[in-house]
């Protein structure tokens, strides 16, 4: 309140010698400049964020092809068509599968890394930087690098597995195996990044909590599960929600997993976004692509809320 009064005062009174006009201008300046300052964001966001989102809805209820442009109003028939496609449900299954295969191991490993980084290490910065290194590799490059390791006949992964007696896994044929390979790429790039976020969350936990628990005789593991995990809940929710929004839109890695880029001969690793791309830019049907976009948005909202509920439950049940 004091702050506000000072600013008002300096705007209204000014120095006595000032002219009336400049005082008026000064007042206008104080009143309208804030709006001017925030307007670039809102104007640009309206143009490239909000308008497209609404317009996606408009396109999705029309016949619309890449070349011919807007066609007839078709109501919800694009949605009805999509929901009847086997490919859509395969894409949904694959997207969810890749998401689970990446999110769960990633979160567990990231918490483990963060817990180790949270101890009294030497050369903290060195370890933190090394953990973050994969983040700077573009997903396209990650896909090319890992794609070359997951070859079916001579790939590095299969030759290594053969040495311990595990038969060749069909990384480019079997749906689950190909999804594991793609999830590995996601995990490579994001585990360290999330570990740093979780580490920051851990460092915000008051240390006297640990101290009093230690005095009460709680061991290291007990302290981890009874203090760290529950206290980490807000950070975990943040990480999971971000991973959900990003992970369900996955495109780069599956796109470059083979040369054709449409998710495999039998759609083994075709994700929702690849399906969207396929409808829009190879079948040139924008109406249907736009309805897939809306359905994907819906899936993200539903999964996001579900994750929120699950994380809340897990973290709070462990705190009691």
């Amino acid at each position: 309140m004091i702050r506000r009064a000072v600013v008002r005062w300096s705007g209204k009174e000014g120095t006595p010698r000032r002219l009336q006009v400049s005082q008026q201008l000064g007042r206008l300046d104080v009143k309208f400049s804030p709006y001017l300052f925030v307007s670039p964001f809102f104007v640009l966001f309206a143009l490239v964020g909000l308008f497209p989102l609404v317009y996606t809805g408009w396109v999705s209820v029309h016949d619309w092809d890449l070349i011919g442009g807007e066609g007839n109003w078709v109501g919800i028939s694009n949605f009805v068509f999509i929901l009847q496609q086997r490919q859509f449900w395969i894409a949904l299954r694959n997207t969810l599968s890749i998401f689970l295969l990446s999110a769960i191991p990633q979160l567990i490993v990231a918490i483990a890394i963060a817990a180790v980084l949270d101890t009294n290490l030497r050369n903290k910065t060195f370890w933190r930087m090394s953990v973050l290194l994969p983040f700077i590799v573009m997903p396209v490059a990650v896909a090319l690098i890992f794609g070359s390791m997951f070859g079916e006949r001579y790939g590095l992964v299969n030759t290594t597995l053969a040495q311990i007696g595990i038969g060749p896994i069909l990384w480019h044929t079997d749906p689950l195996a190909s999804q594991v390979a793609i999830a590995t790429m996601v995990n490579f790039r994001w585990t360290g990044y999330n570990a740093l976020i979780l580490l920051a969350g851990m460092q915000a936990i008051p240390r006297d909590l640990y101290e009093s628990a230690a005095i009460d005789g709680a061991g290291r593991l007990r302290r981890f599960f009874s203090i760290t995990i529950p206290q980490l809940r807000p950070t975990m929710i943040f990480v999971i929600i971000t991973a959900t929004i990003g992970g369900l839109q996955i495109f780069d890695e599956p796109r470059l997993y083979d040369q054709i880029g449409l998710g495999g001969a039998d759609q083994q690793w075709m994700t929702m976004t690849i399906y969207l791309y396929k409808l829009g830019w190879t079948q040139l049907n924008f109406g249907r692509a736009a309805s897939v976009a809306w359905l994907l948005f819906l899936v993200i909202v539903v999964i996001g809320l579900a994750n929120l509920a699950i994380t809340r439950r897990i973290a709070s049940s462990e705190s009691t």
């Binding site: 966001f45 700077i136 396209v140």
Partner: protein
């Protein structure tokens, strides 16, 4: 997580160095000296982080048969430069054009995001206007909207204006981010004392000059982190550039996709290209990785 910053008394200025020192002391107090198990675990993690880089160099320095050679050597061959030259000289891959484009797009987008975010962040953190809290909530809400979902109408609009295939098509959608505004708002509200702004106002500086000479310098550390982060995100971005651009005017990820399509039989060239596209960010990481780590960790505590 915002509660953390709200708990600070409003009169005291946060002192990042003091904060770090206090933390270190607390860490020492707990006194958990990590054992060899911890270092062993970290070593495994680091091998996993670094191995793909080594692998790309290993394959990228071999020839077309290296990848499928069952008795592959773990020592790099001598072909990296010639493979790199093949990447750079391939006409449809357009490497140097892609490289220049990536530099232009990432730089322009980062500069714009930083400037507009700082401007808006300053207004949200320190100025008073009607509807402020509502507008800020709106900004935070938009962060949850998956932007990739707007590709269809964005493409229709760009095609209508004839911008597809030009760099403008990938620059314009990136000019502002909700994350940037939120990030700068958080930082400025803590790091910029109100007295400084008042002093500037009393000295007769108008609102924009106050921003330019007082807020902008004070926001520099956070602005640098935002620039770094935005640069990396833009450099690695694929989906929208892939749709909006074409082979004759690509960014690096788009040209890597072309490289794969052309050379899928010879992975030594593909992986040499993958490594080349990453080199600029490796260099950036060597110089600014420390700041990137700090930025990600601070963002987590505030966000």
């Amino acid at each position: 997580m915002a509660s953390r910053t709200e708990m600070l008394p409003t009169t005291s200025r946060p002192n990042p160095r003091g904060w770090a020192r206090k933390h270190r002391r607390a860490e020492a107090a707990i006194g958990e000296r990590p054992g060899s198990l911890a270092y062993g675990f970290l070593a495994v993690v680091i091998v996993a982080s670094v191995f793909p880089f080594y692998w790309s160099f290993l394959i990228g320095s071999g020839d077309s048969s290296t990848l499928n050679d069952p008795h592959m050597s773990w020592i790099p061959g001598g072909n990296f430069l010639s493979n790199a030259a093949k990447v750079m000289n391939n006409e449809s891959v357009n490497f140097w054009k892609a490289f220049t484009n990536s530099v232009i797009v990432s730089t322009v987008v980062s500069a714009s995001v930083v400037f507009f975010s700082t401007l808006a962040g300053y207004a949200f953190a320190k100025l008073h206007f009607r509807g402020k809290s509502w507008l800020l909530t709106f900004v935070i809400g938009t962060m949850a909207i998956p932007t990739q979902l707007s590709v269809v109408p964005l493409f229709i609009a760009m095609a209508k204006f004839g911008w597809t295939g030009s760099l403008g098509a990938v620059i314009i959608p990136g000019l502002v981010t909700a994350f940037g505004v939120f990030w700068m708002t958080q930082y400025i509200s803590q790091a910029l004392p109100d007295e400084l702004i008042e002093a500037g106002r009393i000295d007769g500086a108008n609102m924009f000059l106050t921003f330019w000479y007082i807020a902008l310098p004070a926001a520099r550390p956070a602005a640098a982190m935002l620039a770094l982060f935005t640069f990396i995100m833009t450099w690695t971005n694929f989906f929208w550039p892939f749709i909006a651009l074409n082979q004759s005017n690509p960014t690096l990820p788009v040209s890597l996709a072309t490289l794969q399509a052309n050379y899928f039989v010879d992975y030594s060239i593909v992986l040499a290209g993958a490594l080349l596209a990453t080199v600029p960010l490796i260099i950036l990481f060597v110089f600014a990785g420390r700041q990137l780590v700090a930025g990600i960790m601070q963002g987590a505590v505030k966000g």
